[in-house]
Amino acid sequence: MTELRIILLVFLLVCAIAVSFSKNLLISVVIYMAFSLIMAIIWLILESPDLAITEAAVGAGVTSILFFVTLKKIRSIKTTAEEDIDE
């Protein structure tokens, strides 16, 4: 169990560093989702399943969706239509 915990914490650190170093905002949000999921597993290991459910639903789900919508609104994500026009 200790090994699993150490592996998860290392993943957490890697995710946190990778978020700040990725140039693409979309990739940052996806890494942030991974961070939330790992955090949910860590909450489960720390015996607080209530928090784990909330973290998985809010942190990985709703917050990332709101980020995606915002990125679309500020046109950081290229849609297929725009790529077609570009070509």
Binding site: S48, P49, D50, A52, I53, T54, A57, V58, G61, V62, I65, L66, V69, T70, K72, K73, R75, K78, T79, A81, E82, I85, D86
Partner: protein, 324 residues
């Protein structure tokens, strides 16, 4: 929210301003005033501008490089160095502080006082909730949870104020917003619709299960409400606004949220009033482990779940098109 006065041109304030500016002569009356034609941007034009912005993403960077002076370069170098120094300093400070905290699970830690002991030992018999966490947050600390639900409600109101597109004020921007929404969201995506067909009922049923079993198993109003809200968002992404607005429009969201908060307020007022005055309360803990046990906790969980689900859903719709 501001409302434009339609009769502003005839009002005293406007006449006065025009007189000060010299446009309006009290003797000759109104001089000729032609408002400049409002330049109407076509949709194509706007899209072209956006495309241009997307294309020249490194535009500002190039401008910056051309005008790069020596001291600016020195400043950016210093900026980076100071950034690293400050980050390392803060990280060391926080780690140093963490080393003073008691060990995880230490029985002699200061948070293991008589309050926690009371909650653990008497919680089941006093609240009737098998899940101690729910017993704490919705019985002993129900007032705090009420504040949290109100914070969520206020947050959605703030997002509404910031992102709402007014119907009566600006039909043009509303049309543009709708157009953008349709342009950026793939409607009738078969894969998404099939996945949604399969997942949405499961998500919503799981959310209802988590809400209703909040006092028996892990979960509760907040997590269950968030799961239901995610299910609604998935349904909305797959099928568009026409389908969801049949059952989730602005009126329904408003009525559900305000009704749930009011019920929560009255129910908890009753239990606080009877408890503080040592009156006989009709609310009993019941048999621990049953669905309809633990007094008010089930109903309060449902209220919190409704508020959270509505908030999540309205956040998403407000972000997408500026209206519920």
């Amino acid at each position: 929210m501001s409302k434009k006065n339609p009769n502003y041109q005839n009002s005293f304030a406007d006449k006065f301003t025009r007189w000060v500016k010299g446009d309006y002569d009290p003797i000759e009356g109104q001089m000729e005033m032609n408002a400049p034609d409002k330049e109407v941007f076509g949709d194509e034009r706007i899209r072209y501008v956006h495309l241009h912005i997307v294309k020249s993403n490194n535009y500002s960077e190039r401008m910056f490089e051309e005008g790069l002076a020596k001291n600016v370069r020195r400043f950016t170098g210093l900026y980076k160095i100071f950034g690293v120094i400050v980050s390392v300093f803060i990280a060391c400070l926080l780690l140093w502080t963490v080393s003073f905290l008691p060990k995880f699970g230490d029985p002699n830690a200061p948070e293991n006082n008589e309050v926690a002991t009371r909650y653990i030992e008497q919680g089941l018999s006093e609240t009737g909730a098998v899940n101690i966490v729910t017993g704490m947050i919705l019985d002993y600390r129900a007032f705090d949870t009420f504040g949290e639900s109100c914070v969520l409600f206020v947050a959605s109101c703030c997002v509404l104020i910031l992102l709402r597109v007014d119907k009566d004020e600006d039909p043009e921007s509303r049309a543009i917003e709708d157009m953008n929404d349709r342009h950026y969201e793939p409607r009738n995506d078969t894969i998404l619709q099939k996945v949604a067909d399969f997942l949405v009922p499961l998500m919503i049923i799981f959310g209802i299960y988590v809400v209703l079993n909040g006092h028996i198993s892990p979960g509760g109003g907040f997590s269950g409400g968030a799961i239901i809200g995610s299910g609604l968002i998935l349904y909305l992404t797959a099928y568009g606004f026409e389908k969801t607005q049949r059952f989730m429009n602005e009126k329904v969201v408003k009525a559900l949220t305000v009704g749930a908060l009011t019920f929560y307020c009255f129910a908890k007022s009753y239990s606080f009033y009877t408890g503080a005055n040592h009156l006989h309360s009709i609310i009993t803990p019941g048999t621990p482990g049953n669905i309809l046990s633990a007094g008010l906790i089930v109903y309060l969980n449902i209220c919190v779940g409704i508020v959270v689900a509505c908030t999540m859903y309205s956040f998403y719709t407000l972000f997408r098109k500026g209206g519920i």
